[in-house]
């Protein structure tokens, strides 16, 4: 009740404007929250696994995207329900932290909430449920670590990495070319990886898309590709042994930030100013040329006259290079970004083996490739495909694969996929449940059921009978004491995930279970929702 009575029996209002607010309390609030969150999880669940389906999303402006990536789906769905939004954030934090498994984490949260709902119906207090989930989660994580295996990422030409990338790519529309794309991703990551520090700077991998061709034509360019061409059509199209001058100032007369007026009051002033202006251009080009640079990349525009002077001085130049590209080029070529013409010195130039213009298709679009950079090896993955939707989805898929490989370089422990890790944890959690003598026992048992939900969902998506296949896999895990038994999604005839080579990173799995549990706990703590009525 938002209405209370004082000592004299007069009513007073606790919640202002309560008439215009919607309020839900207690069990009703729990259930409504859980149902909303479950609706999201249900949408995503059919995207899980190698045979998962895609979602088609139409933006407010009518643009279409087709994707299988959990984080992208929930981001573009325009979800307004407050608890459902928690799941969106869940998926996004998995994306930010790990980069892969964004669908799985939401599906797991959905399964947990489903279990919570039945427990609530049994009359178990939400906090007991969340305590139970918490304890079960700890057990599951510990067990994950014990069953994880270290792999040798170097062995056999990085075969393990390629397999892990293939697992990540297997569920996407590009799955047909997963091996090729996986190799591209692995090569790209290894090219830029710092294996001593076990770290990968993903900024050094640029993913550029270009419609046309097909996904097979996707290739790795050991250099930087920028979507720009030379500023003057008659400049040379190829520079070898390039010395790159990277500028963030325009080839234009300076514009002081202070507001000012220059008054021309006589003909001499006019002439002087004109000469000065002409001199600016000559000086600018001279400064660049004198430093020994043979190509100039500029973040800003060029005046026509400056542009021509550059051409006359045999100095090919590129204008309007985007800020991120400028930074990338600086990193790769060892160039210092030069903010003023006066500060150009030979040491600040970057070096690259070659800079050249390449052309695509009939519509005469040109791009610039910078290869054999002096410092780090920045690489570009050029994605091709029959339509914008395909290349966009391929870009997201390759990003996932790259993240997986990076995670493996950081931490080379893996668990097996195909739902086998979840099943193994479920068995462990179930055993633990029997040892707990309080109400939490039920919650812990439900947690195990929720974990089983993942393989069952996988089986469902592959057209297998979920109950039979999960039961079989579980029984075999127990009988053979083999935690690698999962669901045979690809119908390869074996359920041993080691033979199928379905690798997932330990860090991703751990993160999935932990994040999902956390969000579920949070949702279970909400017992009162107050919101404006009219949303």
């Amino acid at each position: 009740m938002s209405l209370a009575f004082d000592d004299y029996g007069r009513p007073y209002i606790i919640l202002r404007e309560q008439g215009s607010k919607k309020r839900m309390k207690g069990l009703e609030a729990y259930k409504s929250n859980i149902l909303a969150a479950k609706a999201i999880a249900n949408t995503l669940s059919s995207s899980l696994g190698p045979k998962g389906m895609d979602k088609m999303l139409v933006s407010p402006d009518g643009d279409v995207s087709v994707t299988n990536d959990g984080a992208t789906i929930v981001e573009k769905m325009e979800i307004q329900h407050p608890t459902a939004k928690l799941l969106v954030e869940l998926s996004q934090s998995q994306d930010a932290e790990i980069g892969d498994g964004t669908t799985g984490v939401v599906v797991l949260a959905g399964k947990l909430l489903e279990q919570a709902l039945t427990l609530l119906d049994k009359g178990i207090h939400p906090l007991k449920i969340s305590d139970g989930f918490d304890r079960a989660c700890d057990v599951a994580i510990k067990h994950l670590e014990t069953i994880s295996e270290e792999i040798d990422i170097q062995a056999n030409e990085h075969e393990a990495l390629i397999q892990a990338a293939c697992t990540a790519l297997g569920s996407k529309v590009v799955s047909k070319r997963k091996r090729e794309l996986g190799k591209i991703a692995v090569t790209a990551v290894l090219d830029v990886a710092d294996l001593n520090r076990k770290d990968v700077n993903l900024d050094l991998i640029k993913i550029q898309t270009k419609t046309g061709g097909s996904v097979e034509d996707t290739r790795l360019i050991s250099g930087i590709l920028i979507d720009k061409d030379m500023s003057h059509p008659q400049m040379v199209k190829e520079v070898n042994d390039a010395k790159i001058c990277l500028l963030t100032c325009p080839f234009e007369p300076p514009k002081p930030k202070t507001k000012h007026n220059i008054n021309i009051s006589s003909a001499e002033d006019y002439k002087k100013l004109y000469q000065q202006e002409q001199q600016y251009f000559v000086d600018m080009v001279k400064l660049v040329k004198d430093s020994g640079a043979n190509i100039a990349l500029c973040q800003w525009g060029f005046d026509d006259e400056a542009n021509h002077l550059l051409l006359q001085n045999n100095l090919p130049a590129v204008r309007w290079v985007s800020g991120t590209d400028v930074e990338l080029i600086a990193m790769a070529t060892g160039a210092r970004i030069i903010p003023r013409f006066q500060e150009i010195t030979p040491e600040k130039l970057g070096k690259a083996g070659s800079v050249k213009e390449v052309q695509f298709g009939t519509s005469n679009e040109r791009m610039l490739v910078i290869e054999n950079c002096q410092c780090t090896k920045a690489v570009t993955i050029l994605i091709r495909g029959g339509s914008q939707m395909i290349v966009d989805e391929a870009k997201r898929s390759i990003h996932d694969a790259i993240c997986v490989i990076r995670n493996l370089i950081k931490d080379n422990r893996i668990v097996y996929g195909g739902g086998s890790a979840e099943l193994a944890c479920a068995i462990q959690v179930l055993q633990y449940a029997d040892e707990v003598s309080s109400v939490e026992q039920y919650a812990i048992r439900s947690f195990a059921d929720a974990l089983e939900g993942i393989p069952s969902c996988l089986a469902d998506n592959c057209g297998l009978n979920p109950i039979t296949s999960v039961a079989q896999a579980k029984a075999r895990q127990l009988q053979e004491n083999n935690h690698r038994i999962g669901i045979d999604c690809m119908e390869l005839g074996t359920t041993d995930m080691k033979e199928q080579r379905i690798y997932e990173t330990l860090s991703s799995k751990k993160q999935q279970i932990q994040l999902a549990t956390q969000v579920v706990k949070m949702i279970l703590k909400i017992d009162d929702v107050i919101a404006p009525d009219d949303y």
């Binding site: 409504s32 149902l35 909303a36 609706a39 949408t43 045979k51 389906m53 895609d54 979602k55 088609m56 999303l57 139409v58 933006s59 407010p60 009518g62 279409v64 087709v66 573009k76 769905m77 325009e78 307004q80 329900h81 459902a84 529309v173 047909k176 046309g212 061709g213 097909s214 097979e216 059509p233 514009k255 000012h260 007026n261 220059i262 008054n263 021309i264 009051s265 006589s266 003909a267 006019y270 002439k271 004109y274 000065q276 202006e277 251009f281 026509d304 006259e305 002077l309 006359q312 052309q359 695509f360 009939t362 005469n364 679009e365 029959g386 339509s387 914008q388 395909i390 592959c462 057209g463």
Partner: protein
């Protein structure tokens, strides 16, 4: 509400909708097939055209387009169905990548989905269908590459191939009656590029009047501009200076300048200085000793007069593309500053003759006998601007195909031959594959056969009979047979000389399969609330 009657909380925003499973799939199929059906009547030599009418106040009757080009039709359509949008997108990509086959790609994707829908009704899982399609696509692609032939780029055969390809492409267009003439014209234009693929250097000028037959390829290069009044109309052995510089009042570019004076005398002084500056610039230009001066920007009367006085022919306001072409044709450098007269020889462009000519009612400038003969001009004539636009699109398609062929060099027989051969390859493969995928492979073959079927239907022939006979001929080993759309029979393409560019077919096959797969994989469509627009 869910099945048991619980009221579900609203999760998405108002007006946002979500369709799942069957509903989502139904929507995709309906949309994609509708788009394919729309453009399929334009396919083939007997295909029909469409009139595109723009919407919006005041322009209902203006800017009408009559066209047969798939990409143009699809681009101008406003569709809301997301699957239909994917088809439009692949058609656009096809246009950018190879320039032709834009209808084929949309129709093939549509036919694949039509077959896919039937399979789904038979309770075959979409992923199984996709698995089958993937096998089929690889087989088809392999067959396509196997049956293609390659000729040396310099050889006469290759030249003949190009002409045949141009004719085949033209046969489905408006100018099909004059296709021999135009095929020759386009091939000549493309060969002038000498292997470069920069279409910008082929300029197409459209002038209403005359008949289509009056169109011609000009050896020289035609600029759609006039020579300024008071200059010579005919210059032999011209030295051309191409510039991109301000010749109006040439303002000072230093930021924040402003003229502020206290007497009229000063104004006059500054005016004189300004004039002086312009004169100075002209003097510098004169140091190059050009006979013709082409500027991208406007030229005011004063500098124009100065230049004319020096006996220089002035062409002003050439747009950027025109200027680039002049530069390419004459080998000139585009100047913006004029301080290096010693490099005169590199900078100035040469051509034997510049003259003002009249085409129809319009005056143009023709550059003939240029130093670098890369740029050329196709002058199109026709009775109305709608026809000219359509001819322009057709010629563009042909040029794109030819350039693609020059790059790739592989050719296949036309008349539906490649589609039928690919279909046959799929059928053979289907016999060897175990499992449900085989059904999808057969479906793929059927979709491929739909293309010749539609071409027959559009021609008003008995498609079922023709396609079956066609199949039999191929089975007999007559591998160069195809549809003869002139008399509705099956004929030897070798005799008819119908060839097509392999790259166009390849791209259409790849893009259509990718799009069909993309649409097939969808089981859920979420539409966000449309953005509210303030109506002005």
């Amino acid at each position: 509400m869910d099945i048991v009657g619980n009221v579900l909380p609203q999760v998405l925003k108002d007006e946002a909708t979500e369709d799942k499973g069957e509903m989502a799939r139904l929507q995709s199929f309906v949309g994609a097939i509708a788009v394919a059906d729309l453009v399929k009547t334009t396919l083939g030599p007997k295909g029909m055209d469409k009139i595109l009418k723009p919407t919006g106040p005041g322009q209902e009757m203006t800017h009408i387009t009559v066209t047969n080009d798939g990409a143009t039709i699809l681009k101008s359509m406003y569709v809301e169905n997301p699957a239909a949008k994917i088809l439009i997108e692949i058609s656009k990509t096809q246009d950018e990548e190879v320039g032709d086959g834009t209808t084929t790609v949309a129709v093939l994707a549509g036919e694949l989905l039509r077959e896919g829908e039937k399979l789904i009704q038979k309770r075959i899982h979409p992923q199984q269908v996709i698995a089958g399609w993937r096998i089929a696509r690889d087989v088809a692609l392999k067959r396509l590459r196997d049956i293609s032939t390659e000729n040396d780029i310099e050889s006469q055969e290759f030249h003949n191939d190009l002409i045949k390809i141009a004719k085949t492409t033209l046969s489905s267009k408006l100018i099909t009656t004059d296709r021999d003439y135009f095929a020759d014209l386009c091939v000549k234009a493309v060969l002038r590029l000498k292997g470069s693929s920069n279409l910008d250097y082929i300029q197409i000028i459209k002038i209403p009047g005359g008949t289509i037959r009056d169109s011609y390829l000009d050896d020289g290069f035609i600029l759609k501009k006039q020579i300024t009044i008071g200059c010579k109309r005919r210059i032999e052995n011209a030295k051309i200076l191409v510039a991109n510089t301000a010749m109006d009042y040439d303002k000072i570019k230093i930021y924040g300048t402003k003229v502020k004076v206290n007497s009229m005398d000063k104004v006059a002084e500054i005016e004189a200085a300004e004039k002086e500056k312009m004169k100075h610039k002209v003097d510098k230009i004169l140091q190059y000793q050009p006979t013709v001066f082409v500027n991208r920007q406007l030229i005011y009367n004063y500098p124009e007069q100065l230049l004319a006085d020096a006996g220089i022919t002035v062409i002003e306001h050439a747009d950027f593309e025109g200027m680039e072409r002049v530069a390419a044709a004459t080998g000139a450098e585009i100047l913006s500053t004029f301080d290096a007269p010693e490099r005169r020889d590199q900078i100035l462009g040469n051509c034997e003759l510049i003259e003002e000519i009249m085409i129809g009612e319009e005056k143009m400038i023709k550059f003939s006998g240029c130093k670098k003969n890369e740029a050329c001009t196709i002058v199109l004539r026709g009775s109305s601007i709608h026809i000219l636009d359509e001819v322009d699109r057709s010629i563009h398609d042909v040029l794109c195909v030819l350039i693609t062929t020059v790059k790739n060099r592989r050719v296949v027989w036309g008349g539906g031959n490649s589609e039928m051969q690919m279909a046959a390859a799929c059928d053979e493969e289907a016999k060897r594959v175990q499992g449900k995928q085989a059904l999808a492979i057969e479906a793929y073959a059927r979709a491929l056969r739909q293309l010749p079927t539609i071409i027959c239907d559009n021609g008003g022939y008995d498609s079922a009979e023709l396609v079956q006979n066609f199949k039999v001929e191929l089975e007999k080993g007559n591998l160069s047979y195809g549809l003869n759309m002139n008399d509705g029979s099956i004929g030897d393409m070798k005799e008819l000389g119908v060839k097509e560019c392999m790259r166009v077919k390849e791209q259409a096959l790849l893009a259509a399969s990718e799009a069909a797969e993309l649409i097939m994989r969808v089981d859920d469509i979420v539409k966000c609330a449309p953005r509210k627009r303030e109506r002005a």
